[in-house]
Amino acid sequence: MNWWQRLLGRGKMEEQLDKEMRFHLEQHANELMASGVSAAEARRRARMALGGPEQVKEECRDARGTRWVEDFWQDLRYAMRMLRQRPGFAAVAILTLALGVGASTVMFTVVNGVLLRPLPYPEPDRLVAVHGHSDNWKAELFGEQNVAYPDFLDCQRESHSLMLAGSLFNGGTISGSGVPEYVDLQQITSNLFSVLRVNLAQGRAFLPEEDRTGAAPVMILGYSFWQRRFAGRLDAVGASLSLDDKRYTVVGIAPSGFRLRDSEPDVMTPLGQDTAKFLQSRGSHPIGVVARLQPSTTLAEAQAELNLIGRHLAEQYKDTNADRTFVARPLRPDVGRIGSTLWLLLGAVGLVLLIACTNVASLLLARAISRERELAMRVALGASRGRLVRQCLTESTVLGISGGVFGVGLAAFGIRPFVALWPGALPRVEEVQLDWRVLLFVLIVSLLSGFLFGLAPALRAPVQKLEQVLRGGGRGVAGSSRRLHSCFVVSELALAVVLLVSAGLLGRTLLHLSSLNPGINIRNVLVARMALSPATLADPAKTRTAWKEVLERARRIPGVQSIATVDTFPMREGDNEQGYWTSADMPPTNELPFALLTSVSADYLKVMGIPLRRGRFFDDHDSLDTTPVIVIDEVLAQNAFGKQDPIGKRLWIPEMGYGSNMFEIVGIVGHVRHWGLAGDDQAKIRAQIYYPFSQLPDSFMHRWSQLMSIAVRTEIPPLGEVASLRSELKGSAGDQVLYEVRTMEQLVKDSLALQRFLLLLFGIFAGLALVLACIGIYGVLAYLTGQRVPEIGIRMALGARPNSVIWLVLRQSLGMILAGVAVGTAAALAAGHVLHQLVEGMQPTAPSTFLLTIPVLTAAALFASFLPARRASRVDPVIALRQD
């Protein structure tokens, strides 16, 4: 018989064991009787010789090796029975745990989806990203550098260890049938889908011969765009679409959820068909490169090969590639800075779970002490200490697992609303779902928390002073448990202090940030990106006229006060950063100070309400024929010129590409919080330069027009003007589009969305912690006071007044509260430091935060302890003394 048969065939085995023992005894007795011993005496002697059939049977059962399972089963049933007997206790404990586990599970699900899950491609660990690297490029400011298209082609051709694919982010206007629409365009190499090993939902990928100049225009649609524009119709493949006035044939549909650099492209076209000049240059680096390692090559080999290719190119093209190398790194999802926020929240939620565990632990401990007699009885009957510990742990594990099951339920319902609540777009949101990792997490958390809060009561299982326990009924041995209980209360309060103070800090920060001046008048300003008619973009002169016309037409709309064009507007909606210097004698590029550059039309200052400090802003006289001018902000004036007057001085901006890169400063304006209310103070680049759109040379017109937005100051609430703006600006062909329409008020508000969201969550966690801690302190004091009822009875019989009894109990709790606050304050200071590191614009920890939050906690805790105290003061000495 194997182990399983032994485990499952228990009944039959018991029967056979019994039969075997009986046979032995009878056989022995028979023999003895045959030799003349009386029947009763024979049976007695036979039993003596065997040595107690029950003990022998017990040892035989041990020999089966299935004992622990049977014990576990027994403990499990016992634990269930105990919980059913006390439904109130069970409900409170399970609910507390479910809240803790549920909240942690929601947070972990998000962390798992956004940060931990691998990329949704086959063999994601064989995928790498290839970046350009040169000493001039400040990766810490601008992020990783992309690759020039000719460089990419060379790498692709020469590399034997990597299959490289590239993509270029772009945009364009889809017109033809239906409403014209501005779409996200990715220009991709023909092998992109095969490198990622993604199969198309419909149709086919691009062919290598389509990835060349002059090939027939073809297009792949994104899944969402296909659903939106074609309602998912299969005849979309083969259909013809007009993108920027050029007809394309649709050859395929990308699968649902397909993303490039964390956004789903609307349409894709072959990169090789683009004849744009900057794609032929090794000096501009627009191509994002992914690659798959060839079978049985390593990343190190691939890197060595890229180094070699880089060196060859550097020798061949000294002007552009002198210090340029290529770096391959494992491809990771691009989730920006969200990681730290997520870990912060997971940590906070972990604190809540800890409080929940502590609470249940103190509940269990109180119960364990009242069960001391039962446990002592078990020891007296022969149970070992290990056996009792196992039984206690089984009980707490049952609690932990039930809490976990309910927690997963809560999380399953809570995860979607939580994700929807997340401010802005949560990256990789489609990956956020309950998977095996989450379930494993819950299992571990439940088991661990069950173990954690079950351990203290379990280790108290009585083995010494048995007699005392049995006789005294648990009274008088509560000393050590009182210390343990105080420990629980102190740690709960300390954890609650941490969360409360953190919430307080976030609240203070939010108040402070909201009161900051953004540097612009945000009321009644509408901003929208705008795509001109594709027909006009081909000709720079037409483009200039088209923009002028846009401004003039918009100005005539009733309710529009002023309008300007602008390429990047405040609250980190795009940025263009360049190095500048105050003389022609420049240090190397990587040592230049940097500034934000914005190209605007004349009325921009009026629209945004930015104050003019000195000099003038641009006007219609600034044209291609006049001196190239710029306007700087106070920060740059201070940084570059200190106390000197910058007006009339010049700035050299080496990468500008027009006007000999030399510009006259004609005005100084107020600083604008470009990086948002929260982010601007710590931003690495704050200085600002404005330059007039009207002075840009023809070669800039096409690219700049693709990036252009309009900003409109209105007399009425700005969203009311959207319809008339749209109809007035749609152009003669009807294919000029406004998109991403927002108000500045929204943008400013959104710039604090993360801080607001964190405050909300920390507020909820802190509230939860406060309530749990109060329940904890109430439960512990009620229990401890209950234990002291006879003592209180004696005191009262001896003349103690109710007030002094209340004081007696409150003094006990005050000690715990003060200790908790002290420990918590120290921990909160550390937590404040962490928050300061992770949250933009975080205010340093101030005493006022502690002064505001700690009294709240102390008052709540005192209130929770007042109830048991009052009950104690109403003890009737006669009844109390009669107890036991």
Partner: protein
Amino acid sequence: MQLKSDLPQGTLDLLLLKVVALGPVHGYAIAQRLEQVSRHVVQVPQGSLYPALHRLENRGLLAADWKETETGREAKFYRLTGKGRAQLETEAASWERLTEAVALILKLSEGGAE
């Protein structure tokens, strides 16, 4: 339970395997045979007999069938499995090696004293 002599650790299993090797036999008969063969020098407490038998059975060294005895009663008869026979041989061999070595050492020490 008075022991005439302690059974060295692990030898009970060896003895049981040997007794069972002589032919299928039930628990009571094993107890008696052990007593007779060892001529009352070592006494196996009957209480430890059955747990040991069950352990050997669970390890697959012994197998058991329910059969009638000569008196017509049903009893559990133990017999040796192939695995049990192999085990018996290795254990018996190692036992003999051990006792020879011990005897040799004892003689040496007598010689050394002279």
